[in-house]
């Protein structure tokens, strides 16, 4: 009872902190990977506290799979966008924004987001995978 209540209250804060870490990635300590892991733990916490069934209802395996692919796709997509706008792969400064600095900033941010999505999805997939009973 108590645990469930505290968990309910804690999860938003954990997720907020995760987003902060992601957003802060290009200048300070942090980044998509760490942020993603923190975001993933919040969901893992939910699963541990409320059980597998509820967890699966919250994030069905199909969606986690999809998100896992999507994140990498964002990463690769940004890279290719750079090529499309005439740079090398992942050369953010060539992205069509006002100045190269902003472009690099946004480019890195997009990539970090992609990484974060993938990482958190994969963390959840790990839990589902390891906890499954039969060879599904």
């Amino acid at each position: 009872m108590i645990i469930e209540f505290i968990t309910r209250k804690m999860i938003p804060f954990i997720q907020l902190y995760a987003l902060y870490v992601v957003a802060h990635g290009d200048l300070g300590p942090g980044g998509g990977f760490q942020g993603g892991v923190i975001f993933g733990t919040s969901i893992i916490l939910y699963i541990i506290v409320f059980g597998m069934e509820k967890g699966k209802r919250l994030l069905p395996l199909k969606i986690t799979d999809f998100l896992g692919s999507l994140g990498v796709l964002i990463y690769a997509g940004v890279g290719i966008l750079c090529i499309v706008f005439g740079g090398e792969y992942l050369e953010y400064t060539k992205l069509p924004f006002k100045n190269p600095h902003l472009a690099a900033h946004l480019g890195i941010f997009a990539i970090e987001t992609g990484v974060a999505i993938t990482v958190s999805a994969v963390m959840v997939v790990f839990i589902f995978d390891i906890a499954r009973k039969k060879d599904v």
């Binding site: 200048l27 300070g28 300590p29 990977f33 790990f126 995978d129 390891i130 499954r132 039969k134 060879d135």
Partner: protein, 127 residues
Amino acid sequence: MSDFILSKFNYWASILLMMIGMYGMIAKKNLIKKIIGMNIFQVSVFLFYISMGKVKGGTAPIFWEKAVIYDNPIPHVLILTAIVVSISTTAVALSIIIRIYNCFRTVEENKILETLANDENQSGNNQ
């Protein structure tokens, strides 16, 4: 002599960890314990990398007005990647172990090998 040992303590630490990990990977018969050994083994290398990047008197490689010398950030970045790899390896290993458990109902290596040997004998007899 003691000076020599103490001045390189980070190496000694990672060598010790590495040996523990190696021992676990090779000597343990339990598949999960092997994985634990593998993790220790990998972590020893990560520690080795990180200690390598330390510069005397340097601070964390984050922009800070008071800092004069920064640590070398490249090993840290590299090790971040290596950690990801290590996590994935562990995850793959664990999921393989789960499947092994579903198939054999045990995670002890010698019992599994026994079962496999029985398998082969049976298929041999059938022919």
